[in-house]
Each structure stands twice: as C-alpha cells, then as structure tokens.
Amino acid sequence: MSKKIFLDYKRCIGCKACEVACEMAHGEARIRVFEFPDLFTVPFNCRHCEKAPCLNVCPTGALFRDKDGAVAFDPLKCIGCLMCAVACPFGVPKLDEENKIMDKCDLCADRRAEGLLPACVSACPTEALKFGDVNEILWNREGKVVANLKSSAEKGEGEKAYVIL
C-alpha cells in the first residue's frame, strides 16, 4: 500500500512551517495551509490519489507513479498543457510561470530516496502531518479510540469515554 501524508487536524496550529519547509526544498510551496475564521486550520497538499485523474490525463507521461506510490513528476517530459490542472479535483498542480511546466508535490522524492521524511512532515512542530501507510495510520487512530474506551470502562467511567481523532 502506498504511503501518503495524513493530517491530524486537531493538532494543527496554522504556523505554516510545512509551507515554508516545502518552499525551502522546492522553491515554491506545494502545500498550503487554509485558515478559517474560528482558528481552524487545514494544511492541504496533493493527495496522490489511488485513481489519480492527473496521471490518467497526462499526454506525455510526465506524471508517473513512483515505487512508493507517489504521483511523481518528470519535468523534462512536461509540455505545460495544463491537462493535469484541469483534471485535478483539488486544484493541486500549478503552472511554473517561468519554465512553462507544471509543478506539484512529489512527496519529496529526493528526500525519500535518502530515507528521509518529506520536508513538511519533518518540520511540522505539532506532528499534525504524518507520513505513512493509510491503514497503519487509521489503525493507529482506531487503536487509540479502543484503548480509551477500554480504560474508561475499566475505571467505570463509561460516560467519560471520548473519541480521539
């Protein structure tokens, strides 16, 4: 199963360390923190979809799936036709105006090649961003919920049980 960046939105404080870390690594931030009036913040990057429309419509094969499952990108093959931008439901691929080719998150392919985490995940001071296999991360969350319910039940505090997302 491919590895992706997951968000524990509860932990995000909107500090934009992820944006800046991405910008330092790629020259332009490929992740963006959305802020809402109630201080709710969501960092949002390419989802590297299992059925990636961008990849399906790319006429030159510039977009490809790498061995870790990331929708990666070969700039030499890109013709800047914007088809990926049209197809992406999240508006992720952006045009690099200077080079007239597309630019998108590749989950820091160069860092992964060295066994490092993507830059945004490495920086995130609250660990709101997690890099991992979808099932592993979801099982972990589920495990926390179960553990919490169990310990509450053991203490006879059923009504205090709460769900940690």
Partner: protein, 685 residues
C-alpha cells in the same frame, strides 16, 4: 564540493531547537532536521526555524564598517576600513572619558549574540569604567525576573520542558506559545492536552492560536491581569485551598500576604478586568488543586504593573505548592535565543557577571582579581533611563545588536533622543533603524557565521557552530570587541583567539556555568542545564529542597492593586495591546529579510472586535488611523471576534511602539508596552 553538516542552535526564540546547517564551501545550502540527538525539538522546526538561514544571505547585509556622512537618522554613510573605524571609536572613547568621565558612556549587550559575546560586552564596559550597561531584554522579562527573584531568590524556569507535558493543568496567561514558540507548543503543551489529558486555561484579551484546546478562556482588559491574580490569591486563601504543608514548611510571610489580598474578591476583580467572578473562582480552584504549568510571557511582563502581577503569580505558585517537583512549570521565557546569555553574564546596570551586585565590595574585589582591572562601584542606568539621560549625562552609546529606535516604547521620542548623542556606535548585521543614527556602524557576523553558546528558556546551555562565512569584511561580535579593546590599550585583558577561550574564562568566572566547558558541550549536543557546576552535572529541577533566598524559604510578598499608568477615557476610549506573529521576530530586522516569511506575514494590521468596528463604521480591509497621545499609525483593519470588545491589538514587529508609553516601574524600569489608551478612525482612501 565539500558538504558539511554543521550542528546549530536556531537563532530565533528561546526554545533552543537544534538542526543541521548543510554547509557547502562557506555557504548554507539547506538545513536538515536533527532527529538523532535527545534534542528539545525532537527534530521539529517552526517556519522561522526552517527559513532561518535566508536572512544571512540578504543583499542588505553590512559588509564594511561605515562612517556617517549625512544627518543622524538619514542613513547616509561612507565605507571605511576596520583600522579607521577602531581608531575613530577609540579616540572618541578616550576623548569622552577625559572630558566627562567614563560615566558618560553607556553600553548595550544583546539577547541576539552569544554568551561569550555578551560576557565580552560586559567586560569591555567595566574595563572602560562604566556601569551604564543594559540590553533590550529590559523590555522583555524584567517584570517576572525581579519578582521571582524576590520570592524564590532566582528567576529562571524551574523545570525542563518535559515537565509541561506531565502537568495536569496548563495555564497560558499573557503568552502565545503557539505562535511565539510553536515547537514548544507542539511537542510539550499539545502532548499534555491531547495525549495526556491535561486541562488548559487561556487568559488573554485575544483568542490566541492555541486557545482551541482550552476549556476556559478569560479575557481581561490589557493591564488588568493583576486584579485577577489578586482575586485568585484571595480565593485560594479564603477557601483554604492552599498547600498547607508547603506554606508552613517552605514559605514565610503568609499572614502578610493573606492580609494584603483580603479585600480583592473576584467580584472586585470583575469590575476592573471585565472577567466574570465565577470564572476567576473556577480557575483559582483548578490551579490550587492540580499540578500546574503556569506559562506567562510578555502579557505579564510588558506592563508598568507587571512587577506586582508577577509577584502575585509567584505567591500563587508558592502557596499552591506548584514548584520544586515534577509535572509543574513556571519561570521566565525569554523571547530570544540568547536572553539568558545576556542576563546570566550580568548585563544589567547593577550586576557583575558573577551574579553579585556591583555595590558588593567583596564580590567586586574578587572579580578585580580575576580580571586584573578596577571595576566601577556605582549603580548605572537602565535602558529607559539611559535614553532619558541622552543629551544630559549620557554622551556616548555603544549598541551591540539592539534596535532601540524601534523596540523601545514611544519610539519617536527615542529617535529624537538618539539625535542628541555626541557619539553612537552600532554593531549589527543590518543597517537597522537604530544604526541609521550611528556615527560608526560595525558589520557583525550573523548567527551561523560564528561559534558560540546559546541558552534556552529551560536553562539548557548548548553550543552552536560556525556554518557559513560572514559576507565582506563582517566579523563576529567577539572579535570586534577584542580588536577594539586592543586599540583602546586594554589588549592584555582581552587575549582571546577563539570563543572557546572566552567560554573557559566564563567557566571560571560565572559559577553557574562552571561545568559547561567547551569540551563537554562539544561532546553533548543536547547541552546541560544550568546551574551546571561540574561537567555533566546539570540541574533539571530547581528548588526541590530549598529556594535560593538567604533562609532557603520562599518569601511571600504582600501585593496591592496598581492601576495601569494610562487608562481609556472619552478621548481615547480603547485599550491598545500588541502581540507577536509566528512568522516574525522582534523588530523584523532579520525576519523581514527572509522572503518566505515576509511573503506570508507581509504587513501590520489592527484587530478590532465587530462591536467596536460597527461603532466606528469600520470594515475588514479598511485603512484606519490608530492614535494614542504619543502618535499615530495608518494600518488596515481586521474585524474579528478574536479580540475582546473595547480592545484593539496590533502585531508589534512594525510600528506599534510609536504609540506606546515610556513611563516605567520604579523598581524594574519596565515600560508600558501593552496597555495604552487609543482611538481608531477610518481614513478615506
């Protein structure tokens, strides 16, 4: 291409994050996160940390010494050689000493330079014969530090950060750690709340970033927190919630304290602060019954009544027994990576680097023996008093890495005062607002361009190493001071070739750093906690048994309500306060030169509550004029529920100090930077 991983300490706030600067032939190419060592940040960094080397590559860096050719403040300079710069400065120092005596010269150290460099600023000022010595940290921790020293005999944080994660209650009072110290917030506070089930209380007129985790949010008017603290003492004492055993065995002065707060009921505090009495009771009861980490910062410090407020909180910590054990936290939290480097090397008008007072004859004699020259015995002037005395008794200032023309309160007045100096030397990495008033500007090496010691908010002493070459002819501050001392004929006292040699001297002069030797710190990147009397023997938790007072007990202090020096009236009906942004640091000298930060946090604005905004016909995005009795600034309005009614708030990195008040507290000399009367009006574009 020789690529090196150089371990460095982050140059911004005082959390003390470590990472690697990836250095290629004297340039930093990128950074790498350091997950391997038992570091405080566990490899994590905030946006400032990630972008931290951008400013050192700015084209605006000073590369050669400058001599003023235009009017003061105009910023017109010509380049000169180092030799000429040293010669001019030395001649001027000698001339001023002969005409007015050394007491006409004032020195400023800095929270931005290393421990070694602050120590040298101190040594040089004393060698020249002046005790007019301070640093811009005067406007930082100088309410909390003297108050805690009065009660506990010592100001620094009592516990390591890991104890915050173990606390049962986190009280964030006048502090915005989610923005000022995101790594601390994420790695310790969030873990306490989200993973360990701690409760959080926020006390602030604004909704700060982290307040979504809080179960209670009290919103006092700025400058009225003292009333709440007094009411909490009243509740804890009258409801007998205090730690009886602790009070009896480890404190003195409880009866006087009890007497002093007996009339300060929560109902009384409600009238002053606008916070419901019942909420004050609720929080007081929580603090008294849970293991509490009490996190305070500039919201406590930067008030004229901040000293009394800090005393009240120190009393509260003591009587609730939230000190000297695991799982509690309280103490000062410097805003800069080296606040402690200046404070602990005695950068203050009345201190010696040994921590003793300049008026202490025996301590002076001991230092004279170590240093080999005579030390002046009089108490010097603090920063605000120095500025006041310019044009009168102060003829010359030597400022290392400070930007008082912007950071000091009532900055227009400060700028006028700086014009009256006979001679001003500024040693910095950029031509700051202050440097524009200088006669000679000396280009310094930035953080990452020198080796030295930094001390974090949890008392962690760490070494940072040189990762880049300084641009042009810029030199490390320590080297500039050593070379200037030689020019002054003081070379025999300043025989240093490397910062290690200065640190070795510090090991023998400053007792709390005895064990923090260059060798130990090189082998232990995680550093040690001061007081570290022997290598490797740091002190993680303070006051487990006794306090640092003469009798080892906490001296509870009676406290009285004290009004802020300026209150809203008909003409200026709003409270103006300020805050820090996650992407900027201090007066922006460095962060404004960082494209990634400047792009995301581009300009100042004023936060206005929707009810006030409606009253004045202001909408988000409108250009408004914010005025106080000192001056006015034009900014965009942001209408938001995140600031309480009757209060407006501006980020302080830009021009807010045009508006603040230079009135100071009689003991701490802290000015009023966070609660002044103001008005806003819409400006037609």
């Amino acid at each position: 291409m020789a690529e090196k991983l150089v371990p460095v300490v982050c140059p911004w706030c005082s959390v003390g994050c470590r990472f690697y600067a990836v250095s290629v032939n004297g340039y930093i190419r990128k950074i790498e996160f350091d997950y391997d060592h038992p570091t405080v940040n566990r490899g994590k960094l905030c946006p400032k940390g990630v972008a931290s080397y951008q400013f050192i590559n700015s084209s605006k860096r000073l590369k050669k010494p400058l001599k003023r050719v235009g009017e003061r403040g105009e910023g017109k300079f010509e380049e000169i050689s180092w030799d000429e710069a040293y010669r001019i400065i030395a001649e001027k120092i000698k001339e001023i000493k002969e005409t007015y005596g050394p007491e006409a010269i004032a020195f400023l150290g800095s929270e931005k330079i290393t421990l070694e460099e602050n120590y040298l600023v101190h040594k040089l000022s004393k060698a020249i014969g002046t005790n007019h010595l301070d640093f811009p940290g005067r406007y930082c921790q100088y309410s909390n530090a003297p108050a805690r020293t009065k009660v506990f005999g010592s100001a620094p944080a009592t516990n390591p950060f890991e104890d915050v994660a173990k606390a049962e209650l986190i009280v964030i009072w006048g502090h915005n750690p989610a923005e000022t110290a995101p790594v601390f917030f994420g790695q310790y506070i969030e873990k306490a709340v989200l993973d360990n089930g701690a409760e959080m209380v926020v006390i602030d007129p604004r909704a700060t970033r982290g307040h979504k985790y809080a179960s209670i949010h009290l919103k006092p008017y700025p400058g009225t927190d003292l009333a709440i603290a007094l009411a909490m003492l009243n509740v804890v004492i009258s409801e007998e919630l205090y730690d009886r055993e602790f009070v009896q065995e480890r404190t003195v002065g409880f009866e006087e304290l009890k007497e002093s707060v007996k009339d300060y009921t929560p109902e009384w505090a409600e009238k002053i602060s606008g916070v419901p009495a019942e909420d004050i009771r609720k929080v007081a009861r929580l603090i008294a019954t849970k293991r509490t980490a009490l996190l305070v910062n500039e919201g406590l410090n930067q008030h004229v009544n901040g000293f009394e407020f800090a005393l009240a909180l120190a009393n509260l910590i003591a009587i609730t027994g939230n000190i000297g054990k695991e799982g509690v936290w309280s103490g000062v939290f410097p805003g800069a990576q080296c606040g402690f480097c200046a404070a602990m090397s005695g950068i203050a008008p009345n201190k010696l680097p040994t921590g003793k007072l300049v008026t202490d004859e025996a301590a002076r004699a001991e230092l004279e023996r170590l240093w080999g020259f005579k030390i002046p015995d009089w108490v010097g002037l603090d920063l605000t008093s120095m500025i006041r005395e310019i044009g009168n008794t102060i003829k010359m200032m030597y400022i290392v890495g400070g930007n008082i023309a912007k950071s000091a309160p009532n900055s227009k007045w400060v700028q006028e005062q700086l014009k009256k100096l006979d001679f001003l030397v500024v040693q910095d990495i950029f031509l700051t607002e202050t440097a524009k008033y200088a006669d000679i500007v000396l280009p310094a090496a930035a953080w990452f361009e020198k080796t030295g010691t930094a001390i974090s908010a949890e008392r962690r002493v760490q070494r940072t190493y040189k990762a880049a070459e300084a641009p042009g002819e810029a030199k490390p501050d320590w080297l500039i001071l050593v070379e200037l001392a030689k020019e002054l004929g003081l070379g025999e006292y300043f025989k240093y070739e490397h910062p290690d040699e200065i640190l070795r001297e510090i090991n023998s002069v400053i007792p709390v750093f005895k064990g923090a030797t260059p060798e130990y710190l090189a082998e232990h990147p995680e550093g040690c906690f001061f007081p570290c009397t022997e290598p490797g023997e740091g002190t993680k938790i303070l006051f487990k048994k006794g306090f640092k007072t003469a009798d080892g007990k906490a001296h509870l202090q009676p406290v009285k309500w004290r009004e802020p020096p300026e209150m809203p009236d008909e003409e200026y009906p709003l409270w103006l306060t300020n805050f820090r942004q996650v992407g900027h640091w201090h007066t922006g000298t460095m962060s404004f030169e960082s494209p990634s930060l400047k792009k995301r946090w581009p300009e100042e604005y004023v936060m206005i509550n929707p009810k006030d905004a409606e009253k004045y016909g202001i909408k988000s995005g409108d250009l408004v004029k914010v005025e106080t009795k000192r001056g006015s600034v034009l900014v965009r309005a942001e209408v938001t529920e995140h600031v309480r009614e009757g209060v407006i708030a501006m980020p302080w990195h830009w021009n807010v100090n045009v508006l603040t008040l230079e009135e100071t507290h009689e003991i701490t000399k802290m000015a009023e930077l966070k609660a002044v009367a103001a008005r806003v009006s819409k400006v037609e574009e």
